[in-house]
């Protein structure tokens, strides 16, 4: 059976109208229960994932992008003709571009040239952002460095939210994602996992959940290999470590191989009817690894985006 037949209401929202009300639809995403891939687990173990592609812009990144923009405006760093600039491998860029289009500021995005065509198209054609491409051989770290260089040459022209080092990034998740998970599970959540890129989702959601119940255990999901194929995630040991990343916040790190993540993407489509991106596949590999250890518990993770086209389009920049 095709995924679209199993889950007809969970298609990706690609076209968004540029009205201010769109921003009110960021957050409050569905919490999906895994019903089939969980069949071998103990009876009292439940596994859930937040369907973050329902956000305007199609990913979890709408949350931190909006918060960083609003905090920047409050602090007087954006507005009065200033332009936004930041480095991104895709989803944050799409979110900035959408928000910029609605709130009326120009958005410049520095991204590695190997970001897939679909994402580049969404950012540039659909939401009118200016794309600056960095050397793909340096991956996202090259984009970070180029962005800093452009900003430092003209600091008065730009607002640089700097998603890797901006506390507003994780604060968005502490206040929204964590609260939603708590309410949607009626406070029964016992384990939380998220993949780490900027680490904002993991840092903020973990802090929020542990504030409500300090016994909740939190896990970082990381690519097992330095050179990997899990879009959006970072292998911390071989990357520029984000300033907001604090290993003491979570309890354990789980390494997931690219092949495992890809296989899980296929299983989620075939068994759950969900079309998710590779980072969601990695998150679910981690969630299942934790769930298999338990006799009872409520395990929650994040599905950052869908974008199955990016899997198909490997190698087409």
């Amino acid at each position: 059976m095709k995924a679209s037949e199993l889950a007809p209401n969970l298609r990706v929202p690609v076209i968004t109208k540029y009205v201010p009300e769109v921003l009110d639809r960021i957050g409050n995403t569905p919490l999906l229960k895994m019903r089939n891939i969980t069949k071998g687990l103990a009876k009292k173990v439940e596994v859930y994932a937040k369907a973050e592609w329902v956000n305007p812009g199609g990913s979890v990144k709408a949350r931190p992008a909006l918060r960083m923009v609003r905090d920047g405006m409050k602090a007087g760093k954006l507005g009065r003709g200033k332009e936004l600039i930041d480095s991104t491998s895709g989803n944050t860029g799409i979110a900035y571009a959408l928000i910029g289009k609605i709130l009326g500021f120009k958005v410049n995005l520095v991204l590695p040239a190997n970001v897939c065509k679909l994402r580049k198209g969404m950012m540039a054609s659909q939401y009118s952002a200016n794309l600056i491409l960095s050397d793909p051989i340096e991956s996202s770290d090259g984009a970070i460095r180029l962005c800093r260089k452009i900003y430092s040459e003209n600091p008065d022209k730009y607002f640089l939210p700097d998603q890797y080092n901006n506390p507003s990034n994780w604060a968005a998740h502490k206040e929204t994602t964590a609260r939603e998970i708590w309410e949607q599970t009626n406070g029964t959540v016992t384990h939380f996992l998220a993949g780490i890129g900027t680490s904002g989702t993991l840092m903020g959601t973990t802090r929020g959940l542990k504030a409500m119940n300090r016994n909740i255990l939190s896990y970082a999901v990381e690519p097992a290999e330095p050179l990997h194929g899990i879009e959006g995630l970072k292998h911390m040991e071989t990357s520029i470590i984000p300033g907001i990343y604090e290993p003491s916040v979570f309890d354990e790190k789980l390494s997931v191989k690219t092949d495992e993540a890809y296989k899980m993407v296929s299983r989620l489509e075939e068994e759950e009817g969900l079309l998710v991106g590779t980072s969601s596949g990695a998150a679910m590999v981690g969630a299942m690894r934790v769930a298999e250890r338990l006799d009872e518990g409520v395990v929650v993770t994040i599905f950052p985006d869908s974008c199955e086209e990016c899997i198909v389009a490997h190698g087409e920049f």
């Binding site: 491998s89 895709g90 051989i137 290999e225 194929g229 970072k234 071989t238 990357s239």
Partner: protein, 92 residues
Amino acid sequence: MQITVRVPTPLQKITAGKSEVFASGTTVKAALADLEKNYPGLRERLYGEDGELRKFINIYVNEEDIRFLDSENSALRDGDVISIIPAIAGGR
């Protein structure tokens, strides 16, 4: 015969921090095998357990993706530049 190989940041631990290294060989396959002699560990990063190049890694000869040439059997000439480029970008 000298081939320059551009190494992506995530693999530079293996090449002692160098972004460009040198290899010899008349095909891409031979050059990558030659590279493994000086930088052991590179091969297992590039190839899967099935012995095929991992699908999230793209290899270019000069400006051309080897998928559009003769894949790993693509011929090399003295002075050619091989680039190893991740198919995706990590970090959001």
